[in-house]
Symmetry: C2
Subunit: 685 residues, 2 copies
């Protein structure tokens, strides 16, 4: 991996001591530090172990999962299948609330917007990207970089018949093509009631000790039959011992550990507070709506759960960025890097002044932030229906262009998923749509101001709420057939449409494209150029033995089962079933469902429920298998403790802990509560 000659080994060692720790690291499968990990854990992991784990690890659209049988059975979290449960539900019947068990293969329900990917190949393409961008100005380089990524993906797909996606690592320090086997037919097998899957709800979220059966089972199908995966992992229901070596194979979504100090301050001052303000208000609206009737509660639950999760994550991220220690450490790291660059005249010349360039790009971002956020990025246009409309308007226009000239979300490689989502028969609730669109429009007017051209265009005679209500009530886009007809009709059908939501999307598309163009040229392009140069300088002075930031691509990390010390109080790494009953209040979210209460006397109250480890994980890792050195599943990762949230920016060895469902409670529940005998047999054979 050490493609860039290491100029300063001494500096490297100092750097690693100050910023990297034994258990830290979201390692790529092409850069896993076998010797370091085996030495630290006294294990003997090898390439075969890694290949098998890779082949059994599944990427869902929103989560991680793993194959757990040779008939395509997939283990993941309840909160990873919650959207699928909600898509099957209605105002009258909620599978989120009630749970689901397919008694037979025939009863397994298709998750219409889900896919399952398995990583089968990885190819570095950094040199190809460097070759095409060399000598170009930032905006031109940005355009040709994207076009080349699109072209390479297309060639790869044509050649391999796999799903090919480019990956940007180290903020542009490396580019890769990742190749996936994709399953597009994914069905729901089992999910418990949300009240036990997310026992403790939002108050307990990101907390430990914890008592959540946050599990769900899916099955991948191929040609209408259960898939035969290349590998699967056996569940070891005994679980791990305290102190045992454990590995998390999964797809951490995003971390910002390589951001510069100025970029972190921008998150602290702008992105995070703005997001939190917006979504705290929406949270209030949804709670108020959900409390007005049981039906409303039912249709809001899924949205509210994921929104509250997002709020909790971001407010702890904001807290982390308010820690002077974090920013001081980032400043010191940056100063060290600058000093090391200064020692090497050639490196100094090729690096230029990326931090100054970043300052300029961030100033441009501050200027564009509100129109970009509200108009292009959709904060003003919330809800399913308006997003269908925007996808149809934008997507049909893009489809008319050559592949390489399109926005990256509408390349040939991306179109099948676009069509899958447009055609999915999922419920659309009028009231929720009105709330979300009305709120978005109202806040757009507040933040852009009533005299902004787009605001005047949309709301010169109607209030935001009245406009939202009219659009939602009159559009026909809730019907997947209508959407697919427009999609197939292409830009001509869109131009001819009199659907009011399509008309809205049409009327603002040019404004949105214009602000996106400014953003790409004055923010994205210079930032990418600057962070690429910083990454190259880091490689040159530190080597590549530092892991890249998380990018929702496959990573492995290692750790051990352990608790931590919370302000002098030791936190044990295992919880037991009995305490869940002690803690129950009878009222959501501290309600143990009737299915458990009915068999309470038969349950072994000593059963381990959840456990904590010091693996380095982040959102996107949800559903990851926790694997022992033998390659068995000894836990189902579903969360981190509260200190894990600052993992977005650094890894706090002392307190950052991952949280997993213990396999013993899975067995106890499947056998005694849910009588899921066939599933259990499949898991244990």
């Amino acid at each position: 991996m050490n493609r860039f000659a290491s100029a300063a080994i001494a500096a490297l060692l100092v750097f690693l001591c100050s910023t990297s720790h034994a258990d830290e690291g979201m390692w790529t499968f092409h850069g896993f530090p076998f010797s370091k990990a085996n030495a630290a854990l006294k294990t003997s992991l090898d390439q075969a172990w890694l290949d098998r784990v890779r082949s059994a690890t599944v990427r869902l659209s929103n989560c991680t999962a793993s194959f757990v049988s040779d008939e395509g059975l997939i283990l993941t979290n309840h909160h990873c299948v919650e959207a699928c449960l909600a898509e099957q539900s209605s105002k009258e019947k909620s599978y989120v609330e009630d749970g689901f068990l397919a008694k037979s293969r025939e009863e397994e329900k298709k998750c219409q917007t889900q896919v399952a990917d398995v990583l089968v190949g990885m190819e570095e393409i950094t040199a190809k990207i460097s070759a095409v961008t060399a000598g170009k100005d930032e905006a031109a380089a940005n355009d040709v970089r994207k076009a080349t990524l699109t072209q390479l993906e297309g060639e790869c797909e044509a050649q391999t018949k796999q799903k090919c996606q480019s990956v940007t690592l180290y903020n542009g320090g490396q580019y890769w093509l990742y190749k996936y086997k994709r399953y597009t037919d994914v069905r729901l097998v089992f999910a418990p009631e949300v009240s036990i899957a997310a026992f403790g709800g939002d108050p307990d979220n990101f907390q430990f000790p914890r008592w959540c059966l946050d599990m769900g089972l899916l099955r991948a199908y191929e040609d209408g039959k259960p898939a035969k995966p290349a590998a699967f992992l056996k569940v070891n229901f005994a679980g791990p011992a305290a102190g045992e070596a454990v590995f998390v194979s999964g797809h951490p979504g995003a971390t910002d550990r390589l951001l510069t100090l100025a970029q972190l301050k921008q998150q602290r001052n702008l992105d995070l507070p703005q997001w939190l303000l917006r979504y705290s208000e929406i949270r209030g609206r949804l709670i108020q709506f959900s409390e007005s009737s049981p039906e409303n509660e039912r249709i809001t639950a899924d949205t509210l759960n994921s929104l509250e999760n997002g709020i909790k994550v971001r407010r702890k991220m904001l807290d982390a960025l308010h820690e002077d220690t974090l920013l001081d450490r980032k400043a010191a790291e940056q100063a060290t890097l600058e000093k090391n660059i200064a020692k090497d005249a050639a490196l100094k010349k090729s690096t230029g002044n990326p931090w100054g360039d970043i300052d300029k790009a961030l100033a441009a971002e501050r200027g564009l932030f509100l129109p970009y956020t509200y108009i292009e990025n959709g904060a003003g246009f919330q809800g399913r229906l308006v997003n269908y409309a925007r996808t149809l308007v934008r997507g049909t226009a893009e489809r008319d262009k050559p592949n390489g000239q399109r926005y990256r979300e509408f390349t040939d490689g991306a179109l099948p998923r676009v069509q899958q989502n447009l055609g999915a028969s999922v419920p659309v609730y009028t009231e929720l749509e009105e709330i979300r669109l009305g709120n978005g429009l109202e806040r757009m007017r507040e933040w852009l101001g009533p005299d902004h051209a787009v605001v005047r265009k949309l709301m010169s005679t109607e209030s935001p709420a009245a406009l939202a209500k009219r659009l939602v009530r009159e559009t026909k886009l809730a019907d997947p057939a209508v959407r697919l007809e427009l999609w197939k009709g292409g830009s001509a059908a869109i131009a001819a449409s009199t659907d009011p939501m399509i008309m809205l999307a049409r009327s603002i598309d040019a404004d949105a494209r214009a602000v996106r163009k400014s953003y790409e040229d004055t923010v994205e392009a210079p930032l990418r150029s600057a962070t690429e140069r910083i990454a190259r300088a880091r490689f040159a002075t530190l080597g590549t033995s530092v892991y890249p930031d998380a990018t929702f691509t496959l990573r492995l990390n290692y750790g051990t089962v352990q608790g931590w010390n919370e302000n002098g109080t030791p936190v044990e790494p295992f919880t037991r079933l009995s305490r869940a009953f002690d803690r129950a209040t009878g009222a959501d979210p501290f309600r143990i469902p009737d299915s458990w209460q009915r068999v309470k006397s038969k349950l072994d109250m000593n059963t381990p429920f959840n456990l904590s480890t010091n693996n380095d994980i982040v959102g996107g890792n949800s559903g990851s298998p926790l694997i022992n050195a033998k390659g068995e599943i000894v836990g189902l990762l579903f969360d981190g403790n509260i200190h894990s949230v600052s993992g977005a920016y650094w890894f706090d060895t002392a307190k950052n802990r991952a949280v997993a469902v213990h396999p013993a409670i899975i067995k106890e529940a499947l056998s005694k509560v849910y009588s899921a005998d066939a599933v259990l047999a499949e898991l244990t054979r």
Copy 2:
């Protein structure tokens, strides 16, 4: 005023040049810089002018106002009388929406929770406070300081028969007794519809250009008859010229210009984000509730308006604290002060290390922040009913103690207002109470955690929403007679009460007192000691020619009528009526009421509507008279522009502008729209 010898005149001049500007300053009436102001504005203000203005300026419970006739007529803002309008309203009839005009004295409606104070005397008591606190440790000094303030207030009231309130200036650098003539019978005379009073609503709030008739008229009564004030100000309906010298006499609520860097960071990192998160969610709940029916909209309007104002203020304050320039300047000022202190051995010794002490106190505050905020400070207990209950429980217990040993909000001097509020016959809306209390309890559980002792005590079997609903439905405290009976029954009646809201308040009072005690001893006491020492060091090195932070006590500031330059575009200081009609959309909050539409053809479209000046104002100044050098009212202050919000921390000479209603539109509206002939006659005679 220069009680402390000025050690460094040179340093003073440098300091003033870098931090003070011609138009900046919220000057006390005992420290007004006549010569500086007269020189800057070419005016000839003297003590007689100042005394007359003081005698005509009124402090309401929430705002400023002024006497405008010899029969006690009071001019203030619509948003200052909005609570009174709401108190007169019901689900069926909203005076906020419809406005109000008393056709005769008999129709004037009493504002039950309002008072009107006129400042009649000021006496410095710094030496008395210094004498009793000398040699005591911080916590003991804090206790004796409060007890002494209570005692001095009591003696003053007994002696003068006026309302006596102590005032802490310069964060403890000076203590004063302010003496007020208090009117407790204040009645509503006139208010326009909120749609024209707050035209543009929240989107236009803190914006200029602007078109708001944000006016209201009250009348003070004494012994059942219109009061005869010692002075009143005539309205000059022609208004001021551009560039004319203007003065704002009023009660700016609070500024934080003297806070240390560490205190500002605490606001940025903790207080402001926490508040904004809480209230953004409540905003969402109230909007959702208000949109569900016209009745709900009616009963929510007043609360929502003031909440949205609070959100806008705080998010702009947070923006200001994210400006590196602001914090850098504060750091530089602090460094200069430290350097000047270091030059004087005696001063160095007496000052100690206040910044280090502040760091420790702020660390203690961070530790106590959540329990203090949620339990004692009421974030967990929102709504009228629970606050009545807490006041009754706390107040009756405090009343049993000697005056000097009570919490300061229950001293003999404070009790009449407590009883006035408890006995006020104001509407209590069950649904709003349920929302606010339920939300408070839910967030208390989220932030303190489900295992916190107070949370377990209240919510071990009920959800926050269910508990709130039960308490609100079963309590009898909505009835003022019930409240007064408990108040008169005292602590024995409270102990015997089985009202569930009283029981709740009783059950948490000891917890709340305990956290308050910790807060007072470990946060408030050391902070007060440290800021007193900083203030003394500032006086010693800079003199007292710097104005103190705003404290909702009477101040005068001077400026001129002017616009500003917004990113290269000049903003003119006057708006005209015609543009309001151009901007109207027909939908709230951009709806011009029917009363204006009906007489549109008769209105002079060229009438000046609002104007901007560079006076230094802040919330609490609302309703202040804008006065010319002759002592006439030439505007009614109601807002600032968006740049004025950062006035909490510094005065931005280039862009900070105050916004006022022009007297011409007042006359135009009273005569042509509202036919308020008697009122207009009283104003013009």
